[in-house]
C-alpha cells in the first residue's frame, strides 16, 4: 500500500565490511583529503553538478565509506575546470586529488 511516504532504509555503513585499501592509498598520495571539512563550496560552484551530480564533498565522503560506485558515477562529468580549487577555503589542490582518484580507482565493469 502506498501512503505517499515510507520508512527509509537504513543508511548505516558498516565499516568492517568496507575495503578501504584504495582510500588509504589515496590518502598517502593526497594527505589533503583529510583536510576537507565538507563545507560544500566545491559542490556549489561545480559546473558538472548539473549533469552527473558531481560534488567533490560527496565524492570524498563516499570514498571514505567505501561507496566507490556512487563516487565514480558522480565523477563521470567532471571537467577538471578547477573552480573547486579556487574556492576551497582549506586550500586543497582538488584537481590533483581528482586526477589521483582517476588513477587509483577503477570502474567496475558489469
Amino acid at each position: 500500500m502506498d501512503f505517499g511516504f515510507r520508512i527509509s532504509p537504513s543508511s548505516a555503513v558498516n565499516l568492517d565490511n568496507v575495503d578501504l585499501e584504495k582510500f588509504e592509498e589515496l590518502h598517502r598520495i593526497e594527505p589533503d583529503v583529510y583536510k576537507c571539512m565538507a563545507c560544500g563550496s566545491c559542490s556549489a560552484t561545480c559546473p558538472a553538478a548539473r549533469f552527473s551530480g558531481m560534488s567533490l564533498r560527496k565524492v570524498i565522503l563516499a570514498l571514505q565509506r567505501g561507496k566507490e560506485k556512487e563516487a565514480l558515477a558522480m565523477m563521470k562529468n567532471c571537467m577538471l575546470c578547477g573552480k573547486c580549487t579556487m574556492v576551497c577555503p582549506r586550500g586543497i589542490n582538488t584537481r590533483h586529488l581528482i586526477l589521483s582518484i582517476c588513477r587509483i580507482y577503477k570502474e567496475e565493469t558489469k
Partner: protein
C-alpha cells in the same frame, strides 16, 4: 706551398678522425631515427617543406642566423650574443677557410681530405711565393682570435654570469664539464700548435708573432708534435663526448629548424619532434631566470632545462614531478633561443599517464543548452543599430562564473553599445576543455570541444565573445567554427571604441596592464588591451611585460602546486607590475584577477570593469551635449 711529408700522415690525426667519424655517424643515425619516428603525414610535410623553395630558403636563413650568429641571444644580451656567435661563427669560418686552403694548395688528397683542413699547417709548408696565401693566413689567425675572445668570455661567464644578463645558470652534469673543458682547450691548443709551425708553414699576426716572441720554446721542433697531439686529442675528446652532453644541441638544432618550419607539432611525448627539442636544448639556462616558479629556490630544478635533462636520462619519477608542477605560462618557450616548447613538451608528458578511470561526457544533453543560449537580447541603444549588427554569443566560461563582476560589466558594455547578444552559459555551461587538455587528457578535451561546437553552431550567432583567455586559446586552436568569429573581450572592446559605438571619458588614472599568459604568449594579443586602456587613462608599463610578462601564479596549468606555494609567485608578479607605481592594476583574465586581488595593495580590475565605469553609449553623450 709544398707538402712536408711524403706520406701526408701522422699518428696524431687519429683521435680527431675517429671522433669526427663517430659524431657524424651518430648524428646521421639519430637524424634518420627522429625522422622515422614522425607520424606519416608529418614526415610527408617535412620532406615537402625541404623541396619547397620558400621554406627551404627560410630554413637556410634560420640556420645561419640562429645556429651561427645566435640573433636571439644578441637581442637578449650583447655580450652573451657575442660570446656565442664568436665561438660558433668563428669556428665555422675556421673550418670553411681551412677547406678553401686545401682546395687551393693541394691536389689528389684521398683519405687525407678527412684531416688536412684541420691540420693543414702541420702537413703543408710555406714556400717562397706565399703572397697568395697571406690573406688566408690572416683570415685563419683572425677567426682564431675571434674564437679565443669568445672562449675568454665563456670562462668569465662561468664565474660572473650576471655580466651576461643571467642571474642563474644551469648546473652542468659531469659529462657536460668534460665537454666544456675540452671545448675550451681546443682553441688555445690550436694556437700553440700552429705557433710551432709558423716558421715552417707560415702564419699571420697571431701565430707568427707568437713564434717570434717565444722563439726559444716555439722554434724547438722537438716540442712540436706534443702540441699537435694535444690539439687533436682535445678535438677527439670533444667529439666523443658530444652526443652525451649539452653540445648535442649544435647538430640537433640544424634538424629542429627545418622541422619547425615545416609546421610539425609534438605528437609523441618522447619521439620525433619532442626528441629533437629535448636534444636541441643547449642547457643555457635562459629559462631558469624566466620561470615564475624561480622565486622559490626549491623550484629551480623544475625548469625546462632540467626537464630536458631528465627526459634524456629517462628518469620517469622526476619527469612526472617536473611536468606536473609547471604553471604552463609558456615563458620558457617565449625566451628559449633554440625554440624548445617547454609547455607543450610538458603537456605531452602528462598525456602518457595511465588512468584507470576516465570521465565521459556523452550523457550531456546539448539540446537544452542550445535552447538556453538561443535568445538574443537586442541592445537598448537603438541609435547605433544602423551599423551592421552582428549577433554576439557571450561564453563567460567557468572562471568568469567565479568573478561575476566581469560578466556583469561585459554585458553592460554590450548593451551600451547596442549589440544584440545572448549568454551561452548563464546558468552554468560546459567547460571549454582547456583545463583538462592541460592535464593531458586529450580524449576528454575532444569530447568537450565537440559538445560546445554543437551548441555554438546551433545558436545562430555570428561572433563568439570570450572574457577568459584560457577559453580563448583553446577556442582558437582546437575548435572549428565555420562562419563564426572568435574574439576576446579586449579585442572586442577595442573594436567598439574605434568604431565609435561606445564613448570613453578619459581621466588621469594610471593603469598598468598585466598580460595574461594565455592571452599574450598564448594568443599574441598585446596591442588591443593597451589601446583600450590608453583611451581610458594613462597607461604605464610593468618592468617585464608582453612576451616576458610574469604569470600571476594562479594558473590552472600546474597540477601539483598547492595554494600556499603559489603566494610567493603572485607577490613577485605583483612587485613587477607596480614598478612604475600605477593607481590600478588591470588584467583581462578572471583567474589573474582573482589571484592578484588576494594579495594586491591596490585595486585590481578586469578591463571590462574599467571600460564599463568610464564609458557611455556613443549617441547618449551626443544628446547630453
Amino acid at each position: 706551398m709544398r707538402e712536408r711529408f711524403l706520406t701526408g700522415y701522422n699518428d696524431f690525426v687519429l683521435p680527431f678522425v675517429c671522433g669526427m667519424l663517430f659524431v657524424i655517424i651518430y648524428c646521421l643515425a639519430g637524424m634518420i631515427r627522429i625522422i622515422m619516428q614522425l607520424p606519416v603525414q608529418d614526415r610527408k610535410k617535412f620532406f615537402l617543406s625541404l623541396i619547397t623553395p620558400k621554406t627551404l630558403i627560410k630554413d637556410i636563413k634560420d640556420i645561419f642566423l640562429k645556429c651561427l650568429i645566435h640573433v636571439d641571444l644578441w637581442k637578449r644580451n650583447k655580450l652573451l650574443g657575442y660570446m656565442h656567435s664568436s665561438i660558433a661563427f668563428g669556428w665555422f669560418m675556421l673550418i670553411v677557410v681551412g677547406h678553401i686552403e686545401v682546395i687551393l694548395y693541394t691536389s689528389n688528397l684521398g683519405a687525407k681530405a678527412l684531416y688536412y683542413p684541420i691540420f693543414f699547417r702541420y702537413f703543408v709548408a710555406e714556400t717562397e711565393s706565399t703572397m697568395r696565401g697571406s690573406l688566408i693566413f690572416f683570415l685563419m689567425d683572425f677567426f682564431l682570435l675571434v674564437v679565443l675572445s669568445g672562449i675568454v668570455l665563456a670562462i668569465i661567464k662561468r664565474v660572473r654570469s650576471r655580466l651576461f644578463g643571467m642571474r642563474r645558470t644551469t648546473n652542468p652534469s659531469f659529462l657536460d664539464l668534460v665537454g666544456l673543458y675540452s671545448l675550451w682547450s681546443i682553441f688555445p691548443l690550436r694556437l700553440l700548435a700552429e705557433s710551432f709551425t709558423a716558421d715552417i708553414s707560415g702564419g699571420s699576426f697571431l701565430t707568427k708573432s707568437l713564434n717570434y716572441v717565444f722563439t726559444e720554446f716555439l722554434s724547438n721542433h722537438a716540442n712540436m708534435l706534443p702540441a699537435w697531439w694535444a690539439y687533436s686529442c682535445a678535438l677527439g675528446i670533444f667529439f666523443f663526448v658530444l652526443p652525451f652532453t649539452r653540445y648535442m644541441h649544435i647538430p640537433t638544432e640544424i634538424l629542429l629548424i627545418p622541422l619547425r618550419n615545416a609546421g610539425i607539432r609534438i605528437v609523441n611525448a618522447r619521439k620525433g619532434l619532442a626528441k629533437a627539442q629535448v636534444y636541441a636544448c643547449p642547457s643555457c639556462g635562459v629559462c631558469i631566470d624566466a620561470c615564475p616558479m624561480g622565486v622559490q629556490k626549491g623550484n629551480i630544478k623544475d625548469t625546462t632545462v632540467y626537464l630536458n635533462r631528465q627526459i634524456k636520462r629517462n628518469n620517469e619519477t622526476r619527469i612526472e614531478e617536473i611536468s606536473d608542477k609547471c604553471l604552463l605560462c609558456g615563458k620558457c618557450t617565449a625566451v628559449c633561443p633554440v625554440g624548445v616548447e617547454g609547455d607543450k613538451l610538458r603537456i605531452a608528458q602528462r598525456s602518457i599517464r595511465k588512468y584507470s578511470y576516465s570521465p565521459d561526457y556523452s550523457n550531456i544533453d546539448v539540446a537544452a543548452e542550445i535552447n538556453a543560449c538561443n535568445n538574443f537580447v537586442s541592445g537598448d541603444n537603438n541609435n547605433v543599430s544602423s551599423i551592421e549588427n552582428k549577433k554576439v554569443l557571450y561564453f563567460a566560461g567557468c572562471m568568469t562564473a567565479l568573478t561575476p563582476a566581469i560578466r556583469k560589466t561585459t554585458v553592460s558594455i554590450l548593451s551600451k553599445a547596442g549589440i544584440s547578444y545572448s549568454m551561452m552559459d548563464k546558468d552554468g555551461g560546459i567547460c571549454c576543455g582547456r583545463p583538462i587538455f592541460m592535464a593531458g587528457r586529450f580524449d576528454q578535451a575532444k569530447q568537450l570541444v565537440e559538445k560546445n561546437t554543437e551548441i555554438i553552431m546551433n545558436s545562430g550567432a555570428d561572433i563568439l565573445l570570450l572574457t577568459c583567455p584560457i577559453c580563448y586559446k583553446i577556442f582558437r586552436e582546437k575548435y572549428t567554427l565555420p562562419g563564426i568569429e572568435i574574439i576576446h573581450h579586449t579585442e572586442f572592446i577595442e573594436r567598439l571604441i574605434s568604431s565609435g559605438r561606445i564613448k570613453i571619458s578619459k581621466d588621469t588614472t594610471r593603469y598598468v596592464f598585466h598580460d595574461p599568459c594565455e592571452l599574450g604568449r598564448g594568443c599574441g594579443v598585446y596591442e588591443q588591451p593597451r589601446k583600450v586602456l590608453a583611451s581610458a587613462g594613462n597607461l604605464v608599463e610593468a618592468a617585464k611585460n608582453r612576451q616576458e610578462s610574469i604569470c600571476c601564479g594562479g594558473s590552472l596549468g600546474s597540477l601539483t602546486l598547492g595554494f600556499d606555494k603559489r603566494r610567493a609567485m603572485t607577490e613577485n608578479a605583483l612587485a613587477n607590475l607596480v614598478s612604475d607605481d600605477p593607481d590600478r592594476i588591470v588584467t583581462a583574465c578572471p583567474l589573474c584577477l582573482d589571484t592578484f586581488a588576494r594579495y594586491s595593495d591596490r585595486p585590481v580590475e578586469d578591463i571590462s570593469q574599467v571600460i564599463d565605469r568610464v564609458s557611455v553609449p556613443a549617441d547618449k553623450k551626443r544628446n547630453d551635449n
